[in-house]
């Protein structure tokens, strides 16, 4: 049996997958909590345990993410963009474009038939387009991140965010609360602003037929629906959007090592 592991040690969450052939046997997700080494060890052990395997069963480990360099095992490192590209192609073979809304950045990647990166636009200077802004506003509104999507879809009067900056957006959100705006409308307004930003990124690499969304932002149904409305296209959403990068890391590790599976 050829068991491969993929680790995506992100700034916010750490993710691991165990793959055998074309099948994801197990996965694990937990907060990185600023302790990347501990997170990497624990998240890999959890996934191994779920798959009833031990570390010695693994033939190769692929890794990506901001905290990858803290992984204490030998691994093959790949870029986050390549991993998302390969991972999403594994999950949705027909996909041409993937939108990844992560904690630190949002990326729009054009994917080749083989799951490689044909083009990509990255918004990592400004938190306003990334998952970080969702966390900031959730804190302002004193709700859990997971509640945002459901609240957003209930809105019938989204507030208009006049700024593209997350710091100013926080101030704006506080002002809207003071004015009595509903939480639903504030969140929907935020989603609208993010969707417009993402749409402009997609336009830079030109729209394609099949689009998917992944990363933490893909778990927010309100954001997904708003992007769909703005780009006038249905989005494919993985069952577990957080693990697409880890899947890609595992697949690329095998490619790079030249091992025949």
């Amino acid at each position: 049996m050829f068991y491969q592991a993929g680790l995506d040690i992100g700034s916010f969450m750490s993710k691991s997958v165990i793959i055998e052939g074309e099948k994801v046997l197990s996965y694990s997700i937990l907060p990185s909590s600023g302790k990347f080494k501990n997170a990497a060890i624990t998240v890999l052990n959890n996934a191994l345990e779920k798959a009833n395997l031990t570390f010695s069963d693994l033939k190769i480990i692929g890794a990506t993410g901001l905290g990858a360099s803290f992984i204490p095992y030998p691994y093959v490192e790949s870029s986050e963009v390549s991993c998302q590209s390969r991972g999403i192609k594994f999950l949705f073979p027909s996909v041409n474009i993937v939108i990844e809304v992560g904690d630190q950045s949002t990326r729009v990647i054009k994917v080749t038939d083989k799951g490689k990166v044909a083009d990509c636009v990255i918004n990592d200077r400004c938190a306003a387009g990334s998952g970080r802004i969702l966390q900031i506003i959730a804190k302002v509104l004193r709700i859990n991140l997971e509640e945002m999507g459901a609240l957003s879809v209930k809105s019938n009067n989204p507030v208009r965010f006049s700024t593209g900056c997350s710091v100013f957006a926080e101030t704006e959100a506080i002002s809207r609360i003071a004015e009595g705006a509903r939480k639903e409308d504030i969140i929907a307004g935020l989603h609208q602003a993010m969707a417009i930003k993402i749409y402009s990124m997609i336009q830079k690499i030109k729209m394609e037929e099949v689009c998917a969304i992944t990363g933490g932002g893909a778990k927010d149904i309100g954001l997904v629906k708003t992007i769909e409305r703005v780009i006038k296209k249905e989005l494919l959403v993985p069952e577990e959007p957080l693990i697409s990068g880890a899947i890609g890391a595992a697949l690329i590790a095998v490619e790079k090592s030249g091992i025949l599976v």
């Binding site: 870029s79 390549s82 990647i109 490689k116 990166v117 044909a118 990509c120 990255i122 990592d124 200077r125």
Partner: protein, 450 residues
Amino acid sequence: MEQKKKKTSSAKTLQTAREAGNFGKRILASARLAAEEGKPVAWSMVDWWLGGTIAKAIGIELCYPENYGAFCAAVRKAEPFLDYAENDGVPNTTCGYARNGIGYTRRLKENNFIIPEDAPGGGMPKPLFLLGCGAVCDARYKWFQSMGRYMDVPVWTLEFPQTGVAEFFMPGYKEENIKFMVRELRSFVEFLEKLTGRKMDWDNLSERLDTTFKTHELAHKVDLLRKSVPSPAVNTDFWAIMIPHLYLPDDKEALAFYQRVYEEVKYKVDNKIGAIPNEKYRMAFAELPPWHTLGIFDEFAAKHGIAFAIESWNYHAPSPLPESEREGVNDPLELIARYSFHKFNEYTPTAQLNCMDPTIFTAPYLKWVEDYRIDGLFCHPLLSCRPATYTLMHLRNLLMEKCKVPSVVVEGDIVDLRVFNEEEAHVKIEAFIETMDHYREIRKKEGFEW
């Protein structure tokens, strides 16, 4: 654990490139010495119209605020000058060189024109006048005018015509332009004579021109050698060796230096020695470099095998002026006009062939990607520079449409370190590797030669 200190400057691959920085130091030292001896000193812009050569022929020593800006950035000492200019109301979207120059000038003035002790590289002495020019950039007018006001010294702006591709092919266009340029240069000579009380030394000017042509010809030959695979020299080498050909092309030492550069590069080509050990990808760089972080290109080379085979059109010496242009021209000013016209228009036929405008900052790259077998373009848009930025999107589209060459965009600034995100650059380049692979396959399928 002890953290290894990250190197911000480039190690450079050519021995001659490592020595080129001495020319920059010499420019500053010569200007200070001249000032001490009571000789005339001026601050000049990059010498595209050879106005600096004319000034030198009359006995004026020059130093260059643009070069000084790049130097301050490279040693990471530009920020105090940028802040000082911004504190005086200069917007932070103004050219990085300009802000550095204005900040320095403000400090110089406030120090009663005694060079501040902590001035990087020893600093620039107060000039007798400022020599500006409108080539490629609009901030240049106002920047030099502003410094002129701070110091209460005259500013001369050399203004030459730059028109579109269609106009270039209009009958009589070239000769009319040459006539205009000669008139402008003659007025400049009159200005210098009046200002300094000296007479132009025309023989000295002709001799300097002759040396300039020879230096530039060698610089151009080095560019041609760089078409070789593997690339014998890379962008960080070029940005060092360009100092003598941009600022001192009329200097005998610069000519001798360029002979050595040529020999070093030729040796590497003949022996198939690449600038980087494992060249996998050949990239072009557009347009102005992040002077504060040139070491990042060494990291790209080590990590991904990227050789930047060609870069920055505006810094390159033009191809030699055809003999037909030189025949029967005895007036050195006309020769300068013809040469400058040649520099700014030599890629116009390429632009016409591709039905595009403008020529500068775009057309050269269309030729280069094929000649230098380029896999990808690194675009460095600057928030503070419209001329070197607004063409980039156009250029990216053209390269993709006509040559299937992809590009990656990393924003930054020539001088201002505060707007450059090194990590972002690494992330984008990592992702771009696969994109270059992808388009290599596409070019192969579509019958491109590289």
